[in-house]
Symmetry: C2
C-alpha cells in the first residue's frame, strides 16, 4: 500500500527515491535488486503484483546483508497505487516506445532526482518484469523515461543490474569521493627531503661503484632516477626500505671484492 501523503513538500524529511518493481517474476531477483539498493543507500522498495507469494524466503536469501530492505518492502495493487504519494516518477525502458517521452540517461535522471529531492519532492523509479519490461500503460504514469546507454549489440540487463546502475548514479550524484586519492596503508608519505636523501645515498654508492663512466651522462641519469622516485610517491617506510636495498647491494659488492682479492 502507498504511504499517506502527509506534509507533501518538506525537503528535510524527503527520502531517497522509491524503487518500484512491477510484476517481478522471481524472489531471487527481488533479493538481488534489494542488495543493489543497499549498495546505493536506497531502502524504499515497493512491489506491484509479484508473481510469487510474498514474503518470499528466496528473496531474503539472495539479499544477503540487505535483508532489511526486503523485510521493509511493501506491496501495491497497481502502478498508480505504488506511486500515488510521489511527485516525480521515472520509467526504465531498454527500447523505444510508441509513446512520446523525455528520455534521460541514468546520470541525468539522478541529477534531476537530487535536485527534486532537495526541493522536497518525492521521487520513484519503475522497473518492469524480467521478461518483458514495463507496459506502455505503466510508462504513461511516469514524467520521463530512463534508458541506460549500453553497447547497442547487447542491451539486455537483468533486473538487479538495472536497479544497480540507476541506484549507482543516484548515489554518486550525492557522493563526494575524490576521483583520485592516495592510499598509503597507514604509512605517511615521505617528505621531499627524505626522498632526496635516499637519492643522494643511491647516487653516492653508484659513484663508488664507478657506474657513471661518462661524466656528461651523470646529471641526466640522476634526473631520471629522481623523476621515477617522485612519480612513485613513496611512503616513509618505502624510503627506509630503499636505503636498506642500496646498502645491501653496496655491502654485497664490498664483500665480494674482499673475497675476490
Amino acid at each position: 500500500m502507498a504511504t499517506g501523503t502527509g506534509a507533501r513538500l518538506n525537503a528535510s524529511t524527503v527520502p531517497p527515491p522509491r524503487i518500484v518493481l512491477v510484476e517481478p517474476q522471481l524472489g531471487e531477483n527481488i533479493g538481488a535488486a534489494a542488495r543493489a539498493m543497499a549498495n546505493c543507500g536506497l531502502s524504499d522498495l515497493m512491489l506491484v503484483q509479484p508473481r510469487e507469494e510474498w514474503p518470499n524466503p528466496r528473496a531474503r536469501t539472495m539479499a544477503a546483508g540487505a535483508t532489511a530492505v526486503v523485510d521493509a518492502a511493501r506491496l501495491a495493487e497497481d502502478v498508480p497505487g505504488a506511486v500515488a504519494d510521489l511527485h516525480r516518477v521515472y520509467a526504465t525502458t531498454a527500447r523505444p516506445r510508441e509513446l512520446a517521452a523525455r528520455v534521460l540517461t541514468p546520470r541525468a535522471a539522478a541529477a534531476e532526482m537530487r535536485a527534486a529531492t532537495a526541493r522536497g519532492e518525492r521521487c520513484g523509479v519503475l522497473f518492469g518484469c524480467e521478461r518483458s519490461g514495463l507496459t506502455n500503460d505503466d510508462v504513461t504514469h511516469a514524467q520521463a523515461v530512463i534508458t541506460v546507454p549500453l553497447d547497442t549489440a547487447y542491451t539486455s540487463l537483468n533486473l538487479a543490474q538495472a536497479v544497480l546502475l540507476v541506484g549507482y548514479e543516484w548515489h554518486l550524484a550525492g557522493d563526494d569521493t575524490p576521483a583520485e586519492s592516495l592510499e598509503v596503508g597507514g604509512q605517511p608519505p615521505a617528505a621531499q627531503d627524505e626522498v632526496e636523501a635516499m637519492l643522494a645515498h643511491l647516487v653516492g654508492e653508484l659513484d663508488a661503484a664507478d657506474y657513471f663512466r661518462a661524466d656528461h651522462m651523470r646529471p641526466t641519469i640522476v634526473q631520471n632516477l629522481r623523476a621515477l622516485l617522485r612519480r612513485a610517491r613513496p611512503t616513509e617506510q618505502e624510503v627506509r626500505s630503499l636505503h636498506g636495498v642500496v646498502s645491501a647491494l653496496a655491502l654485497g659488492r664490498q664483500s665480494r671484492r674482499r673475497t675476490n682479492v
Copy 2:
C-alpha cells in the same frame, strides 16, 4: 595464455580493456561477468586459475546472449601472465590495503583508460575471487586501484556487478548518448503554430461555453494553458487528438443543450 606483444603502441588497433578474473569460483559468475562485459562493449576476458574446470557449461548458460565472450575467454597461469602484454593495469578492491596505491573511482579510471587507449596503450582490470577479492600480491601488479564509491553501510558487490560498474563507466566515457532526448515514437513533434492553433480552438470553445466569467482572468488562464501545453511538447498526432477532444466536449455540450431545450 597471454597474447604475443606484437606492435606495442599502435593506437589504431588497441582493443578495449581486458577483464581479468583472478581465481573465480563459480562458472555462473564468470557467465554473468561476460554478460556485463557484452553490455559495455568489452570482449577480452582472461581467467586466472578458475576453481572449476574450463570450458564450463554453466558459464555459457548464464552468459545468455553473450556466449561469444565466454567462448573467446583465455586462461592464464597467474596474474603476471594475464597482464604481460598490457601497459596499464588496475586492481579493483572494496577495502583499503596495507599497500600504498593511487585509488581511483571507476569514472576517473575510465577516463584514464580512454586516454591511454587513444595513445596506443593496452589496459586491463583485475577482479578478485567472489569470497575474498584480490590478494595484496595481485594488487602490486597494478599501477592503480579502483574502488567503487558505494553506501558505506553496504559495500559488498558481487563479481558481475563489479564488472558491470567498471565496464559501464568505460562505455559511457566513450559514449555520446545525449543526457536528455525526446522520444516521439515515430511521430514528429508539433510545430509551435500547430499547438497555438489547438490552443485557439480550445479557448474559442471555452469562450462559447462562457468559461471566462471574469474577463480580467482570461489572459492569465490562457497563459497557463499555453505553458502547460508547451511544457508537454506534444506531437502532431497528440495535437490532432486534442482538437478531437475539444470538439467532442463542445459537441456533447451542444447536443445536451439541444436535448434539454
